[in-house]
Amino acid sequence: MSQPSMLCMSGICKSFSGVPALKDAGLEVAGGEVHALLGANGAGKSTLIKILSGAYGADSGSVEIDGGPVVLGGPAEAKALGIHCVYQEVDTAIVPALSTAENILLDRHAANGAGRWVNWKAMAEEAGAALQRLGVELPLHKPAGELSLAEKQLVLIARLLTERARFVILDEPTAPLSLEEAERLFRVIEGLKASGIGIIFITHRLPEVFRVSDRITVMRDGMRVLTADKRDLTPEGVVEAMLGRKFEEEYPKLEADIGEVVLDVNGLRSGSRVKDVSLKVRSGEIVAVVGLVGAGKTELSRALFGADSVDGGTIRAGGRPLRLNQPADAVAAGIALVPEERRRQGIVASDSVLRNLSLPSLKRWTRLGFLTGRKEEESASGLISSLGIKTAGFQQIIATLSGGNQQKVSIGKWIPTEASVYLFDEPTKGVDIGAKSDIFRVIGNLAAQGKAILYLTCEFQEAVGIADRILVMYDGAIVKEFPRGQASLEELLIEASGGRGGTA
C-alpha cells in the first residue's frame, strides 16, 4: 500500500418513479479514514450507499477510485473494485447451516474461485487468519446460525478482509449490539482503519460518531449539507445540520381534561428490545414515546398489547393489573393497538371496509352468536363519514384504498370497542399530508373523549406537535421526559441518540 486509496462520489442523482431521492449528492473517503454518514430518515443515506455498493444504478453523477472513473454495474462489480457493504440485516448474508469458516470464505466459494475441491484445512487456516487480523476469536467449525448477532457481523467483516476490500460500508452496525459488543466492534474498526481500509460508517447514535469517526458528512433531502473534520464539529451543530430549517406543521390540538391514570406501566421487560419501561398515561392525555429506529418502540407497543410476551414488570389498566397472554386479553381490557405495519398487521387487505371496521367489535353486533347486519352497517357508515374515509362504500375492498384511508380504517375499527387506551405505533408512516392531519384530528378527538393515548413515533416533529408529554426511549428504556412545550427537536434528537455524555 504505497499511497492511500481514495474514493470519490460526486453529482449523484437518483429518482424513484419521478420522486427524487438524491439531488447532486456526494461523498469522499480516503483509505485509513472512518467517515461517518449521517442524516434523518429519508435523507438519502441508504440510497447513496446502495448506489455505491452497486445495488442501484445512479441516474447521473460519477464515482472515481484513485482519480480514475469506475462503473458500478452491480454488486459483483462493486466488490471486484474492493467496495464492500455490511448491511444491518446480517442474517441475510449468512448461511446458518454452514460453519463459521465456510461463511467467512463464502463469496469465494459461491464464485467458484476456489477450484473444484474444498480444501478444509486451508480454508480453516485462511478464515482463522482473517479473524486474527480483526483481533477476535470465533469457533471456526460451529454452524454460523448458532453465533450471536454481533458474532455474525464479525464473520461478515472477516469475509470482506479475505476479499481484499479497500472500502467498507457499515450500515448501522451498532443498532442491535450491546455496549460491550459495540465496544469490540469499535476496536475492529480501528484495526481496519490501521490496515488502510476506508470506512463509511452509518449510525444514528451521535456519541459513536464522535468516538470513532475522523470526518462527518450530513445529508438532508437527498443532498450533502455538511462535510467537516470531527474536531471542528459539535453534536448540536450536527443535529442542526440534520434538521435544517425548521418546518412547522399544523397540529390540531384539542383541549382535553386530563384525569386519572388509566395506563400504568412499571419496569416492563419484553424480549431483547424492551429492557425497563415505566410510564403512566392519564385519561385525556396524549403521551408520545419518541426514539430512533431500533430503540424498542414497536416492541413496547406489542408487549403492552399482549402480542409479545411480557418477561417482567407490571401493566395496569384502569387500576387493575393485567395478565396479557394474547391480544384478545388486551382488547378485553380496553386496550387498542394501531400497529406500524398497516397492510400486514392492521387490516385484512383482501376484505371489505365494512368487515375490517367491525372486526374488533363483532361482539357488539352479535345476538346469540348471530350477526345483526344492519347495526354493523350503520356503525361502519358512521365511522366512514366521521373519519372522512374516502371509499365508494363500505363493501369496497380495502386494498384498493389509499394508504391514508386504510390507516383511518385501522384506527377507526377500535372506536366501537370503546377502548380506554389507544396505542399508536408510527401511525403516519406512508400516509400523505392530507390524511395525516385527519389522523391527528381523530387522535385529538379520542383524547378529548377521555381516552388515554400512547403515541410511539420516530418523527420528533409530530411528537412535539401533538403530545402533552414526550418520553424519549433509547436502547429499551425511557431515558428522559419532557412536558409539553419544553422539548426542542435538537434536545429530543440528542437524548434519543444516547445523550451528550453517553458512551454508547
Binding site: 384478545a328 378485553a332 383482501s350 352468536g369
Partner: protein, 328 residues
C-alpha cells in the same frame, strides 16, 4: 384478452362450464337429464359434498386438511364395525362416529396450532396415521352384515335398515342424503354469513396477524375449523357406509381429491377467489356431473383420477391467474 372479458370469465366461467357440461351430456345421452339420473348424481355428490364442506372450513382459515379422506375411511370402518361386530344402537354409532371425526380434527389442530407443524405436512402424516389405524382395526378386511370373522365364526350383527335409510332412503321422493346435503349447505352458508365465529374464520384466513391484533382468538378459531373439517368428513363417512351397506377398507381415499377439487372450483365461482360455501356446492356438482356423464359415455372408471386431477388443475389455474393479475 382485455381485462373486462377476463373478469367475466373468472366470475361466471365455472358456472358456464357446468352448464355446458350438462347440456353436452343431455344431448349425448337422453337418459342423462332424467329425474332418476339427476337424483342419482346428487346422491353421489352428497358424500363428496360433506367432505368438501369440511375442506372449506380448513381452507377458510387458510389451512389445509389432507386427512379428510382417511377420516372418511376410518368412520366407515368404525361405524360398520360398531353395528356388525358389537351390535351397538344407531344413536351410539352416529354419535361415536361424529366424535371420532371431531377427534381427528382436534389432533390435526394440536399439531398445526400448538406444535406448529405446517398444515400440509401435519395432515399428510395424519392421513397415513388415520388410514393406518383403520387398516389395523379391520385387519385390512371389509366389514359387512354377518361377515365371516378371521377365526371362522360369523359376526353377530347386521347393518340395520334404519342406518341404510340414511344413504338409500327417500323423503318426499328426494333421496335422504340429498336432503341432508341441502340442509348442511344452508346451515354452513348461514354460519359463514351471519355468525361471529364464521366471520372470524374468514378474517383469520384473510390475514391471521391482523385478525390476532384485532382481538380474534385465532388459535381457538383455527382449532374450531379443523374440528369442523373432521366432523363433516365423518358425516361423509357415515353416508358412504349407509349407501354401500358395508365397510370397504380404504374407501374414503379417492374422496379427498374430489372434495379438494370441488372447493377449488368453488374459488372461481362468482369470482370470489377464496373458499366459499356456494362455490363449494357448484364445485361438487361439476365433479359429480362429470364423473356420472363420463361413465355414461363408457369412459372407463380407471380414468377418473385423471379427470379429477385435470379439473383441479384447471380450477387452480383460473383462480391463480386471476389472483396474480389482481395483485399485479
Amino acid at each position: 384478452m382485455n381485462s373486462r372479458s377476463a373478469d367475466f370469465i373468472f366470475k361466471y366461467g365455472s358456472l358456464l362450464v357446468i352448464g355446458i357440461v350438462i347440456i353436452f351430456f343431455s344431448i349425448w345421452d337422453k337418459h342423462f337429464f332424467t329425474y332418476d339420473n339427476l337424483a342419482s348424481i346428487l346422491r353421489a355428490i352428497s358424500i363428496t359434498a360433506f367432505v368438501a364442506i369440511g375442506v372449506t372450513f380448513s381452507l377458510s382459515v387458510d389451512g389445509f386438511d389432507l386427512s379428510v379422506g382417511s377420516t372418511v375411511s376410518i368412520v366407515i370402518a368404525f361405524s360398520t364395525a360398531l353395528m356388525v361386530w358389537y351390535q351397538m344402537p344407531l344413536a351410539v354409532v352416529i354419535i361415536g362416529s361424529l366424535l371420532l371425526g371431531a377427534a381427528v380434527g382436534l389432533v390435526n389442530s394440536l399439531l398445526i396450532v400448538r406444535v406448529r407443524i405446517p398444515d400440509l405436512l401435519a395432515t399428510l402424516a395424519m392421513m397415513y396415521i388415520v388410514s393406518g389405524i383403520q387398516q389395523i382395526f379391520t385387519k385390512g378386511n371389509s366389514i359387512y352384515s354377518n361377515m365371516i370373522m378371521p377365526d371362522g365364526s360369523t359376526a353377530p350383527g347386521t347393518i340395520p335398515s334404519s342406518f341404510l335409510w340414511l344413504g338409500q332412503g327417500e323423503l318426499l321422493g328426494i333421496p335422504v342424503p340429498v336432503v341432508l346435503m341441502a340442509v348442511a349447505f344452508v346451515a354452513v352458508f348461514i354460519f359463514f354469513k351471519y355468525t361471529r365465529i364464521g366471520r372470524q374464520m374468514e378474517m383469520t384466513g384473510g390475514n391471521e396477524e391482523a385478525a390476532r391484533l384485532s382481538g380474534v382468538r385465532v388459535k381457538r378459531i383455527r382449532t374450531a375449523a379443523y374440528v369442523l373439517s373432521g366432523l363433516f368428513a365423518a358425516i361423509g363417512g357415515l353416508l358412504f357406509a349407509a349407501r354401500t351397506g358395508s365397510g370397504q377398507s380404504g374407501a374414503g381415499a379417492p374422496i379427498l381429491m374430489e372434495a379438494v377439487a370441488a372447493v377449488f372450483v368453488g374459488y372461481s365461482v362468482l369470482g370470489k377467489g377464496r373458499p366459499n360455501i356456494v362455490g363449494t356446492f357448484f364445485g361438487a356438482v361439476l365433479i359429480g356431473v362429470l364423473l356420472n356423464g363420463l361413465t355414461m359415455m363408457n369412459v372407463p372408471y380407471y380414468s377418473n383420477d385423471f379427470i379429477k386431477g385435470a379439473v383441479l388443475v384447471l380450477a387452480l389455474a383460473i383462480t391463480f391467474i386471476h389472483l396474480n393479475r389482481k395483485r399485479a
